[in-house]
Amino acid sequence: MAKFRMKTVGSLLSAMMLTSLLYGCGGGGGGDSADGDAVTLTILNNWNGSSGPDTDTTPVTKAIEEKTGIKIKIDYTKGSEVEKVNQIFATQDLPDIYTGPAWGGELDGIIKAAKEGQLVDLTDKIDKYPNLAKAIAKENVPPALYEKAIGGIDGKKYMLYQNHPATGDDVNDWLYGFYVRKDIAEKVGVDPQSVKTKEDLYQFLKKIKDANLTENGMPVLPLGGFHDGWAVGIGSTMFYGTSYVDKGDGSLENVFFTKAYEDYTLYYRKLIAEGLLDPEAFTQTDPIANEKIKQGRIAVLAAHYPAILDASKDYVKSHPGSDYVPVGPLERAGAEPNRPVDLSIQGNNVTVITKKAKNVDAALKLLDFLASDEGFMLVRYGVEGVHWEKVDGKPAAKKEWFDKFYEDTTGKVKKNEGIGIGLENMTGMDRINSVGGGDIWADQERLKAMDNARKILRPNGISVISAFNPGDVITKAPGWEALKPSMDQVGDVWKQAIFAKSDDAALKVINDLRDQIKKTGYDDAMRFVNEELKGKEVVKLAMPN
């Protein structure tokens, strides 16, 4: 009997193991599902580090369901966005709706997916959804992006486009730059605004290093950034205007082939070699970077200002006077001192409906609602009457919620209400000031800091770039498929070069890739670019944004 029991238990265990093993291989898959009367749509918010609420249902998603009859389930990307795009299409683990960056490898992946029949063709449907149609109208999309993707792939429209400023009032300047802790600048006796040239910046960082500052017994690093080196490399604008430069004979070439690029690389190599730039900056994750900032161990940060303000909030709270303030404005290669800052102001997001979506009309209905004024304000401000109300016709935060959100430095309370959970990436054109009431959740100190930084870094205002970007045009060159893998390596090779043992070794690393790029059809591709852009206005200067 005991033997029989043992046999039975053994067989059962084995069967369970096998079942669970095989079950694990089955695709989870998203998709439309009928849950009572409501349709459930899955959304992939492909922005690295984005996150959502603790539960799927929030006051905002509930309000959306009441308005549209659609339930939503959002997934978030933790890691490379390009990797995620390639992965979902290669494995066919598709959401109903994909939303993600409107640039780089992410956009290339979406274009490839469109060409290969992975997306829903919206050409005949889009006119029925006025809010969506408006956001992809030719006049509301930068010309190169319109030609490359939004205006159509092989004559068919697949992509919706978001966050392009609707009016001049809605232009979002992220204020990229170098920011120094005010108390540290005072300690080393340097006025951050006196730092103008690359040599000034180098000397400034050196002074910080030589001051041997410590925080809780740990050394303070002169210059640092966030994940994977973002965005310590922005000092490039002190060396060259933009990614494609005039060779001198009127034709364009990629800046990677220029002497300016070598100087830029060797400058950063010097910063690494002399211990002025955190060597971990290129391999660290955001949590590690944030930890360093929260511990007060980074003197100068290079990134956009909102990220710096968020990361330093806790430290500044407990150490008044340690706010990060702008350095410079620093010199800009090829720009007159009185020139407004050239910014590429455009939408940052594309949204597509994948072939997995069984209920395309529901997806379009949802997206059209989100892109309406009502949807725009709902996902950015919360539920009217609950989280905010109109004062003199403009949205204003309710004090109770303002205080709750302000007290919570993690941002979780806001997300649990359904605000900032990725839906804001699908709200059509950016109308934050022209329709909305600005960032009603930002505290006065933050707004003041942003205004102050704007005054310092944009003394001549900004100029929105409307010219063609050769970087968009080259992707249409006949040999681009062979050239792209080599061009994709420029960023990695730059990082390798700045860690090289000597200047010569750094230049060798760059020259090796130059040879490879040439070998894989660079010259032909540039001939195509120069031909295509003949007579057109081309971007010559651009600051990060």
Partner: protein, 303 residues
């Protein structure tokens, strides 16, 4: 007649075969079923065509790999790291098993054994995070200790000078205990009379190890060595992905990571499959060669 006898024997031991089933299923699903996908190395992969319907591309992606200016360096790095792991890492579990076998206090032996297995179950991401914390130049306890002794802090991580040491050290730390299990089992299977006979002949502890234990585990060591040579073209994906950085890329870029970055990050699935197939092809040749040599010089071989 013969086959019905075989089935009878199988049926008699059905419970044991049932226990084997998950393992067989695992190999079938994860090692054999995906083999059909290898054809993508010879096709221009498209999302719509998939593995079987994409157009044929011949050897285009193999040519692309050999034309790639860093392919030589990547192959060299992979072989160097794997060889180091084989030469330094392979004897370590044997040494640990021999040492453990000599411990007479059973409680102490069990404790050491358990402690040495534990790191195997810790994922590489945790191991590398631990290393980052311990070895950091900024507040890491190792550097704190060095500076308290009046020494200069050392940048261990992402530094070519310390790269191989960290790769080998962490690999040995993680796997030594687990890999020693099979040797411990082999040692346990040695006839105790041999030790007694050796003792009578006047052999001390070292002599017993040399003349009884080592020959006793020789066969299993040769088999494991043959299997290990199959991994020569694979230096360890997770470990290298995490421990390699821009500063060490010239010695730390390996095939495993190149396959993943080109396949998943850049979406070049056919190219990645071609590189992966090349890697597996070389591994197969290595295993067959080493197996042949092993068969010639000793009587132990896999097949």
């Amino acid at each position: 007649m013969k086959s019905s006898l075989l089935w009878k024997r199988v049926w008699r031991h059905k419970l044991f075969y049932l226990f084997m089933l998950p393992g067989i299923a695992w190999f079938f699903i994860f090692s054999y079923v995906p083999l059909y996908g290898l054809q993508v190395a010879f096709r221009d992969f498209t999302f719509v065509g998939g593995f079987t319907g994409s157009p044929w591309a011949g050897l285009k992606y193999f040519e692309q790999f050999f034309d790639y200016y860093q392919s030589g360096a990547i192959i060299r790095n992979t072989i160097v790291i794997s060889l180091l792991k084989l030469l330094v890492g392979f004897p370590m579990p044997i040494i640990l098993a021999l040492l453990l076998n000599e411990i007479r206090n059973l409680k102490f032996k069990k404790t050491i054994q358990t402690l040495s297995y534990l790191p195997y179950f810790v994922s590489w991401i945790v191991v590398v995070t631990l290393m980052q914390r311990l070895l950091s130049m900024y507040g890491g306890p190792v550097n704190d200790l060095l500076t308290s002794m009046g020494m200069q802090p050392v940048q261990f991580m992402y530094n070519t000078t310390w790269f191989y040491q960290l790769i080998l050290g962490s690999d040995i730390w993680k796997n030594i205990g687990w890999n020693s299990i099979i040797y411990m089992a082999a040692i346990a299977g040695i006839d105790q009379q041999l030790y007694e006979a050796a003792k009578i002949d006047g052999a001390g502890r070292f002599r017993q190890i040399w003349h009884v234990t080592l020959p006793g585990i020789r066969n299993i060591a040769v088999i494991l060595f043959i299997l290990a040579t199959g991994s020569l073209m694979s230096a360890g994906f997770e470990q290298l992905l995490l421990l390699n950085g821009p500063a060490t890329a010239n010695i730390g870029s390996v095939l495993d990571v190149h396959v993943i970055t080109s396949g998943i990050q850049q979406g070049r699935l056919s190219y990645a499959a071609a590189v992966g197939l090349f890697q597996s092809g070389i591994a197969l040749v290595l295993i067959v060669t080493v197996n042949w040599i092993a068969r010639k010089v000793s009587d132990v071989s896999l097949f």
